[in-house]
Amino acid sequence: MSETANNPVKAGPIEAGGGEQQTLNEYIKAWWDRIRAGDLGSLPIIIGLIVIIGIFGYLAIDKNFFSARNYVNLLLQVSGIASIAIGVVFVLLLGEIDLSIAFVGAVGSVTMTLLLRTGEGEPAWPWWAAVGAAMLVTLAIGLIHGVIITRAGVPSFVVTLAGLLAWSGVVLILTTQYSRAGTIVIQDPVVKGVANQFLSPFWGWAVYAAVVVGFAITEFYQRAVKSRQNLAIKPIEVSIFQIAALALIAGGAVYYANQDRGVPVSIMIVLVFLFFWLFVANRTRFGRYVYAVGGNPEAARRAGINVQMIRISCFMISSFMAGVGGIILASRLGSVSTNTGGGNLLLNSIAAAVIGGTSLFGGTGRVTSALLGALVIASVENGMGLMGWNSGVKFVVNGLVLLAAVLVDAYSRRSRASSGIA
């Protein structure tokens, strides 16, 4: 262990010098070194997104792929998948999987719809009570999954596969019991508004301004804290670049949405949840423990973390966010039916999280990856829908996209291992 001097970490005995402020060149070089070593971060997904948009932009240019209308439709499509995928990220961070999410979301949305129904003299529940009840039901389902998985020591794959079957049955039972046709229409205007209402341009820009200013303030506050502590700070140019990039991209997104109906309420709901779970994952003790349990359960246990509690909580988060996604999707259709939760919703949601860069082996991944992955999935679906391809081709293309994402992950993992930072 005498090679501390040759170590790229530059750590060493105390007289070996401390951390200095990075220059811009050093920062770029360090970033490039990381990329070359296979530590790609969100880079592949962003490149992939650009490639996909480019392909469909070329193929479907005459079918209005770039129109504002289609763009807002895309945002609506993204919302449902993204919120389910956010929950999946937590389960994947543990190195577990939840196959039941699509139908758990369906159970939530069916519960809500049934409570909102006025029938046989009993009054409908107010929307907030119905939504709250649906959320409690999904939380309870997550609790059941989590407890079985941790207490019985059964792999999550098996338990949630059983959940997939059982909850799809529950959806069938509930929908056919209350409607002969198997379709129940949502009557509540607030719930219907989730996916069918849009922010006015003024509010769209107000939210935009709040987000950009908020980001800038946090960024500079963190710089101040770090410099007070004498820690290495990234160059000021990088901070300014990041703020400007956010302002530009988000500004473009709001502006373009305003050309059509405006920013959908559903995407705002997703963003609120995204920020909330981002905070939970990155800033709270709980989030830290999720990464710890996913990365090295033995180390987490020895450090005094209640590993079972963390596991159960993550399955509850997964079910809860599936419920949120289920409600958004139901709101978009305006009804629930025997088909709710079916189709490729489950695979799309898990694929979104994985494509976004969350490892299936636990411990690595970001909550934001759910949104990026959902954007990729929704763009492909949207483009293929415009092209009018049949569903066989759609499945094949979806499969190839997922495969590409997993291969990129595997290769970057290998090159990380060979460069000694895995």
């Binding site: 262990m1 005498s2 090679e3 501390t4 170590n7 970490v9 530059k10 750590a11 060493g12 005995p13 105390i14 070996a16 010098g17 401390g18 951390g19 200095e20 804290v225 502590q229 820690l231 290495a232 800033r283 709270t284 003790r285 709980f286 830290r288 990464y291 710890a292 996913g294 990365g295 090295n296 033995e298 180390a299 987490a300 020895r302 450090a303 005094g304 973390i305 411990g363 690595t364 000694g420 930072i421 895995a422």
Partner: protein
């Protein structure tokens, strides 16, 4: 005082027959460093992981401050911190997060619900702790998967320092640490001790054990084979109880590492064989065991008798030294003064005497002066005057110079400057041994040159070597024969050494002459 940790008849069996711990019992008190010595495979790691709550014992009980611990406790909740042989870190988390994992200080500032960790506070505290260990990371936000093993181990040590444990269990982490940080760890252990934290320190590194521990519990094949106070044992005794063989011809200077590691290998082989033998033994029934137990009882009784004999001898020796001191002072203050007084009187008489008388008076005065010199030398032999005020090395120095002048034998004196002041009894004994040793050289060896080396071999042992280039020992040299012949010199030395719990060795040098080596343990200086 009640012990902080009480371990009672702890046993652990894997499967049906693989017994890795057998009725291990010992106590740990507050502010005490208990060493857990044993070769690899002796059961140290199993014992520490049981204490850490990771494994449950097959039988036996553990009490923490009188409260019984139930299986699978969470040690950190009880104020027990553990440093493992291999650190367990979360690769995906950064340095600070790993150091504070499980107990992050944060907001709101409440003991249980610190939901949002305070990164600023944690970073500050982390760099303070790392500074104390003597290490600095350029970026505390670095993920630990990039760190080499030694730095990971440093993080594991830093984690322990974020809290104030009641009990610290250290399962020798020094394999992954360079010497610099091994020494740091020893310093930290001493500091924890002074903060009255109890420490259990499992190690097979004798230097480490002798530096920091108060007591040492020796494990062999899962059994406690010895419990000793660190101040009262030697490295060799410890090794022989670790490996379970008593070997008489280990040379004190080199036996340390070489033999120890070879012994360790042998012990491992033996242990494997013992596993087979144990099975046979079990089928044979308890008859042998009974015999062994009876023998053990007798041996213990003998040991006790020996101990009380030694005690009596020690008291005798102390009294003898006291007596000598007294006698020396008496001679010096009384007899010498009287003689000198007489001398002055004679001088006064001499002035008024005639020539012949004054010549014989001058002769008398000269012989009185000789007597004074003789008495002074006797005083010095009885009680070296310098030892109380200037210490052992000064005393040896002046004695050797005198002796060399008297006998004409050249002495090369080599006292390590690292030698510090030791308890009076030990300094005196070493001085006496030097005295006796030189006398032997003069009387029996017919030597031209002699050499004396005095050096500390470890923080708690002292090695004295006296060599000469004389005729050497007779071929069938035996202490018993010597004493029968009235040669009490070597016998006296060997008694003194035995009383101090040390070890004496006499042998011929390869070319010419004799070497006498004495190793003596002593308490923390």
């Amino acid at each position: 005082m009640n012990p902080l940790l009480k371990i009672q008849a702890l046993s652990k069996t894997f499967g049906d027959s693989l017994q890795v711990l057998q009725k291990v019992s010992f106590d740990v008190h507050q502010g005490e460093v208990v060493g857990l010595a044993g070769t690899s495979g002796a059961g140290k790691s199993v014992l520490t992981s049981i204490l850490a709550g990771f494994e449950s014992p097959s039988s036996g009980e553990i009490f923490l401050e009188g409260e019984k611990l139930i299986n699978h406790w969470q040690p950190r909740e009880l104020g027990i911190e553990i440093i493992h042989q291999e650190p367990e870190l979360v690769d995906q988390l950064d340095i600070t997060s790993n150091i504070f994992l499980g107990y992050e200080p944060g907001w709101p500032n409440n003991r249980r619900w610190q939901v949002v960790p305070d990164n600023t506070r944690m970073d500050q505290r982390a760099s303070e702790i790392l500074e104390k260990i003597g290490f600095r990371f350029p970026n505390l936000r670095e993920e630990v998967k990039n760190l080499p093993a030694e730095q990971r181990q440093i993080l594991a040590i830093a984690r322990v320092m974020t809290r104030e444990p009641r009990l610290l269990i250290i399962d020798d982490p020094s394999d992954l640490l360079s010497i610099r940080y091994q020494e740091k760890l020893l310093e930290l252990i001493t500091e924890w001790r002074s903060l009255s934290t109890a420490v259990i320190f499992a190690s097979d590194n004798l230097d480490h054990l002798f530096t920091v521990t108060d007591r040492i519990v020796v494990l062999r094949n899962g059994e406690v084979v010895d419990r000793v106070k660190t101040d009262e044992t030697t490295r060799e005794k410890l090794v022989s109880s670790m490996v379970g063989t008593r070997s008489e011809n280990l040379t004190p200077a080199i036996w340390a590492l070489d033999r120890y590691y070879r012994a360790r290998q042998q012990a491992e082989n033996l242990q494997r064989q013992q596993g087979f033998l144990q099975k046979d033994l079990q089928t044979q029934g308890n008859l042998n065991q009974q015999l062994v137990e009876e023998l053990a009882i007798q041996v213990r009784a003998l040991d006790e008798a020996n101990l009380s004999l030694q005690d009596a001898q020690r008291r005798l020796m102390t009294e003898r030294e006291q007596e000598r001191k007294h006698l020396a002072r008496e001679l010096h203050d009384q007899v010498i003064q009287d003689l000198l007084g007489t001398n002055y009187q004679i001088e006064a008489v001499e002035a008024s005497a005639d020539e012949e008388l004054s010549r014989s008076l001058a002769e008398i005065r000269a012989s009185i002066r000789n007597m004074v010199d003789d008495v002074r030398r006797i005083c010095g032999d009885l009680r070296p005057p310098t030892i109380d005020s200037l210490g052992l090395s000064a005393a040896i120095n002046s004695h050797v110079r005198d002796w060399s002048n008297r006998t004409g034998i050249q002495v090369e004196l080599n006292i390590s400057p690292k030698l510090s002041r030791l308890p009076e009894a030990i300094e005196l004994s070493v001085f006496r041994i030097v005295q006796e040793g030189l006398n032997n050289v003069w009387r029996h060896a017919q030597a031209q040159k002699a050499q004396i080396i005095l050096e500390p071999t470890s923080p708690r042992t002292l090695l004295l070597t006296i060599q000469d280039d004389g005729v050497g020992l007779p071929e069938n040299f035996d202490l018993a024969v010597l004493s029968a012949g009235g040669h009490y010199g070597v016998l006296g030395i060997s008694e003194r050494v035995a009383l101090l719990g040390g070890r004496l060795q006499l042998k011929n040098r390869p070319t010419q002459g004799t070497t006498m080596q004495v190793e003596i343990p002593h308490p923390r200086a």
